[in-house]
Symmetry: C2
Amino acid sequence: MPGTFQINKTSGLSRLGKFTTSNGSFETPNFMPVGTRGSVKGVDIERLAEAGAQIMLVNTYHLWLKPTAPIVRGLGGIHKFTGWQGPILSDSGGFQVFSLKSIRKISEEGVEFRSHIDGAKCFLSPEISIQTQEELGVDIAMVLDECPAGGCDFGYFERSLAMTQRWAARSLAARRKETTSIFGITQGGSHRELRTRAAQEIGALDFDGVAIGGLSVGEPKSEMYEVLSYHPQQLPAAKIRYLMGVGTPEDIVEAVRNGVDLFDCVMPTRAGRFGRAFINADEPTLNIKNSKNQNDTAPLDQNCSCLACRHHSRGYLHHLFKVGEMLGPQLLSIHNLTHYLSLMRSIREALAEDRFEALYREIQSRWAKVEEIGELGGVNG
Amino acid sequence: MPGTFQINKTSGLSRLGKFTTSNGSFETPNFMPVGTRGSVKGVDIERLAEAGAQIMLVNTYHLWLKPTAPIVRGLGGIHKFTGWQGPILSDSGGFQVFSLKSIRKISEEGVEFRSHIDGAKCFLSPEISIQTQEELGVDIAMVLDECPAGGCDFGYFERSLAMTQRWAARSLAARRKETTSIFGITQGGSHRELRTRAAQEIGALDFDGVAIGGLSVGEPKSEMYEVLSYHPQQLPAAKIRYLMGVGTPEDIVEAVRNGVDLFDCVMPTRAGRFGRAFINADEPTLNIKNSKNQNDTAPLDQNCSCLACRHHSRGYLHHLFKVGEMLGPQLLSIHNLTHYLSLMRSIREALAEDRFEALYREIQSRWAKVEEIGELGGVNG
């Protein structure tokens, strides 16, 4: 039945599960490639499936403005539109709107803003967001929430959380399609008191899943890890838990260890477009543009079976980036997605075989040396 | 044996054949996708094979300057470098050099020019060109020739042709690798007397194939068709005939009808990147950016089985171009290459089944209305 989350095994706080939608199911823990405007940048849907993707994410904000939800619906809905026949989750549009620099006004009713495309005045409310996501025809819709900037004071966080909570209830009430699952979102920044309250209040509502919002938005990693140490286990045990916009392989294993089931991030594709490859090695990322790759006949990763690693040397990939051939970004995006989705499969296998802790330590130790997270790209776009 | 051209059937002036190289053979008539810098823009080698490509072309000029021939050789040669295991033909580098606006001096010895990358002084001669192509490790190398601008007078054409002829003999003498086939090139613009002389002189040398150069370089189509009406049949009947840098489907069937066996052109990929699709319809091309495609649920071409047509509507492809997603150019490039290579297969099947004349008339009548060749992209790059 759509919206069903089945937990097949728990191991410590971690869980091995399966979430079912009207368009198939996906195993958890899992990672969603980001198809911002209805396309994972540079990666066609057959390559996406080949990389191991079981579910794709699209951004409501972008599709809402262009081509618009009625046009997507007219073209048969988001699955026919993108060609991706498996599960599709959309965000609420809130994250992009609240990131806009253009004039906006947040009120109890919703948020006023100007389109980044043509400056047109737009209005987004919890109801409009759910209605738009249902019109797109996604399998999983996210509620509209406010994600306050890290610099806000406790009072702002508290008032914002209370409104986000009221928006959550309105979002549920706005649902018209039984087949659309809706996930609530907890906010509260790094404030334990607020996260705890959010967990209780969002947990009490009839959502099909609960997401953790407001992390990996610029705060120090130690703060995010602190929240991960107590927050996921505050969420309803029977529901799928989704950590939004996270992260590096290190962040992902940290969160899985604390009971998170689902992730999304632009990092693999954005990093790929800029020439950064994720590999299974002591140094877990590689800058293909570095001249040391110029004469290297080895593939990016000896143990990877992706398109790039099947056919091409580091030297060739280096060349493609140096001369600006678009095939370079394409190949590294495919490689990085394959890396991420293989990691998720490894995590599931390790959980099934009671050896997740060893995998966790391996990833953590590799990543302990990496200091350049910023360069790999943030959560947005 | 490498360099063998086997003609299996003739039909009028047209021929059905097979050319063999050290890295496999290709059927003729055929079309070579252009992998300028060692990559067909936006199209990975598995998609290239899926589109039906049997041979790929690379540009010596570009690879010579970057990454340089020694680096390609160090990475295992052009086949390992690109990952394309089938036949590869390279041009001589001359066409790009003679197109450069930077200072250059043409002498009997060769041509002096400045690199478009860093302005460095470079020198290309018939011997250096062959040596470079052999170092790249291509299956078929082209001789260095001068392709005079259309505006030159008869005297210039005549002197240029005489030098190109001496360069041809020097190119053959420069060959060091038995496995590298070398094709001569005829020039002479639209001058019948010069074309005839070129055919005799190039035909008399021990080339593995003969190319027709200096067409589709800005002259009126009627002039090119006039040359096609007598020139291909002046070339040695037993050798493969390659019309360089041509062209539209209309040009290709015209040339096949006059005995040409092999083609290359950037048109399918360049047009694809700009949103122009080739289709089997009364209007043989379509501008996907046109707003009439916005709500169209039909694929580009009902009878096409390419990646784009398997999964995507015109409405979705229109959207990708409107929002600038790189997947749009990728999908249209794949579609257009599939269209071209399917056309070549149709031509071969029609020749085999004695119905080429009907196919020729069908393509000619569709294209008779098209006036916008310029927009589809020229021969270079």
